[in-house]
Amino acid sequence: DTNLKKNGVHFNSLLLKALVNQKNDNVLEAKANFQKALSKVPGSTKNNLNLNIITAMSCQLISSYYKECEDYENNYVWLKRAYMKSGGHQNMGNSMMLNQLCLLAAQLRKYPELLEFREHYLAAKPGFRANWTGFALALDLNNNTKSAVEKLSQFEEAAEGKITEKEAFENGECIFYKNDLMLKLAKNDETKLHEVLKNLEEKKKLLNDKLGYLERKAEIYVRLGDMTNATKVYRKLIHRNPDNFKYFKMLEITLGIKDDNALKYKMYSNLLKKYPLSEPCRFMPLTFIEEDSELKAYLKFYLDLYWAKGVFVSFQLLKPLFRNLKLSMKFQKLAEEICLQRLKSLQENVKNDTQSKSKLESIIRYFLSNLYLFQRNYDAALNEIQQCQYLDAESKVLEFELFQARILKHMNEFKKACELMEIARQKDNKDRFLNNKSCKYHLRANDINKAVELISMFTKNDTSYCDTGITDLHSVQNTWFLSEQAEAYSRLFEIELNKLKTSEDETERIKIAKCALQYKNLAVKRFEAVFRIYGIYKNDQHDFNSYALRRGTVQPLMHLIKWVDKIHTLPVYRRILKGMTTLVKKVPEFHQIVDTFKSPEKVFLINHSPKEIKQVAVSAPEVDDDPFGHKYDTLKNLKKIADVLIRPYFEKYDMEVSKRNRDYVLSLVINKWLENGDETQNKLLNNYEEILNKVH
């Protein structure tokens, strides 16, 4: 500030001020400082910055500002400028910068550059294992697996016998990572596979991941065709965790009985004796017993295991069998028969005490209700669940109300469903699951106020600018709520829009339009919030690009990299992309109607009371001065709206989604809105046809 008093346009001081403001969350002021600084660079035009005269020091300040904004692209570009201007890797003092460039190049998937930086960094600081690991990882990412293995071996050999207790964990992880790479190189070459196995066994004691060791060993045996040894390892894995279906499926293969149902039945029943709680042992026979009476007996056995314990979820467990085209009819019939027979014998048997009798009866009826709902036979489903409630004299079991609400939801009776959910929730108002269910149902019924009130019972409500849990929901990244809320706002917008079409009176119409506008803007804001959370997820990776190397946890880092590469195709992301598209589609219509008003500008004259603002505000006014999203008021035609509200999010999806998993209809629509041209569309059409023509 002293410098700025002397010279109001002192470049580095302005940048520094921007940086400090950004760090203190004065985002808007920081941006102003920053832009002021850049506008003062001599010899620049509006679109073209004169880079020559900006010093390395200033470049670094600019890059730090971008880092603070988590804009890693610009952070990287400017840091690289600073690095080059100060002599690149020849300048030994640059190693801090070089380290950061490594992180950024990894974050931005600039693999060839990453390799170069990693090589220089290793040369500058060869004493740290993390730098060797980092270089190996860079080689791996550039598909030079062989050199990666060599680098890792080089360090391993040099460090042999010198590993301290503190370094043991890192050592074990790095050794396992090398084994990964060796396996990748070996493919199905027998000699090489034996080498991988030998390496695994030699280093066994040093590995931390005992489970991973067993899984790796089993995999190698299977690849070598050594089924006897593979079987032994799968038996060990099953003993360790008898609830992993994969191990059992593999055991079927290694025992060579995959297609022999009689032997499979023997295998599972023998294992069930050893592991009576194992779900795969219990479940798998249902998938292959062919004879009807045998299957019925087994299904009865299976259901009794759960009914005796009062497990409500027993129908859900069997769902795959009901949904499978080949098995469905059979299982629906058998299950209903079993239920009805059990109910009948319960009634005939008078010796049972009434309490346990009604308990069992209600669990069977609950199962039946599930089955009828699955068959979309709503009346029968309701009938069964009401009988359950009747049996539960003290009405202690919340599951019955929850399920009745679910049936009503399917019948589109949202209001009644909400009432039931509230009854259930009030029986145990400390249970967050019940609170969330009720909240979700209220959102589905478009009752946003009640939903916010409910969810705010479990959030931190401690900011001065927001009276509800909205702020906290953003900071703990509660994407389910935010996307459901956005969808509710979007539906409300459509309802108001339809009212607008039928209303005649101008004053009334202005009122409706104002309301519609508000819903639309808030829907956009919430959708954007979820998109932003996905941005944060992606950025969260940044620090781990070096942290994981120091820790030695390269395998999970590699998982992270692969996962992030597809992050914009994940279920919730697809959902909000679709949601935004549904919303945007209707917006031009709204503006067309408003434009026919005598004084359309009245619609956009809105003053929000402080109380209203406190209901929806996400951040402090210094960070977001537009809690109601009025900046979108001016977006009127489809192309413009799509450019702002869809393009940036769609492009990410478009880049990452595979041919097979793409939502083609959505993509074609969005491309059309964005006027992306025939070439793009035709390419998409070709892919689509190719996928369609692939015979199953």
Binding site: N208, K210, F245, M329, F544, Y547, L570, V665, V695
Partner: protein, 238 residues
């Protein structure tokens, strides 16, 4: 769908975060989960649904019965009308197309695979040792968070998850014991730790939680989980 228990991976973390947000009042940002898995990758586990018969969706069902040829044709025609490019040749193709993706729900990891419970564990080795205590943080495991969706309770999932995690703490980190906190009012969890898993109460920490509720701090010795390296030679096929 039946429940599968396996080790947690990076790809499970946002669904774990979602499960946590749905069930528990103590919530964390994604980065916190990431930190756990990239520091201690071997000791956190998830329970997920699995479809062992690779079933297809229920779209081709009417009143619980497979749709007739005519209805199927009608459905296909309707889809074809809405989009002239959509010309699946047979049912399987139709299903495959419709179901390539996971359901658009925050609980889903993959197609037919949704999370129903998780245990997130760590080692206390990021803590400074306390000279007054005989507990060595570097050798003490810590269960950060455990939850199972209410709908999937009574299946013993929490216990199964805990067992996997405790075993992994022992054989990955050679942890001596494990510590956790549980709300005084959380009867079900307390019962699991105390009676089924043999945890002992160390202390009652007053006002441990944000809402000022007290916590039981509980501890368990892990030496019981030393893995025996036994071979199973019995014939499973007779």
């Amino acid at each position: 769908m039946p429940i599968n228990i396996r080790r947690a991976t990076v790809a499970d973390l946002i669904t774990m975060q979602h499960t946590n947000l749905t069930n528990l009042p103590e919530n964390y940002t994604f980065k916190f989960y990431l930190y756990h898995l990239l520091t201690w990758p071997h000791i956190s586990f998830v329970a997920t649904t699995i479809d062992p018969v690779d079933s297809s969706d229920n779209l081709l069902f009417v009143n619980g019965e497979p749709a007739s040829e005519n209805i199927l044709k009608e459905k296909i025609n309707k889809i074809a009308k809405e989009n002239p490019l959509f010309k699946p040749e047979n049912n399987d193709q139709l299903l495959e197309l419709i179901n390539a993706n996971a359901k658009m729900d925050s609980q889903y990891i993959n197609k037919n695979e949704k999370i129903v419970g998780y245990v997130l564990a760590k080692l206390n080795d990021d803590e400074e040792p306390n000279p007054d205590s005989d507990i060595n943080p570097a050798q003490t495991g810590h269960v950060t968070s455990l939850s199972v969706m209410r709908t999937y309770r009574k299946l013993g999932i929490a216990e199964k998850l805990m067992l996997q995690s405790l075993k992994a703490l022992r054989d990955t980190h050679n942890a001596k014991d494990v510590i956790l906190h549980v709300r005084e009012s959380n009867g079900a969890a307390f019962h699991l730790y105390k009676n089924k898993l043999d945890f002992e109460i160390l202390t009652v920490e007053k006002g441990y939680y944000m809402d000022k509720e007290d916590a039981y701090k509980m501890k368990k010795d892990l030496s019981a989980y030393d893995s025996e390296d036994e071979d199973f030679e019995d014939n499973l096929l007779i």
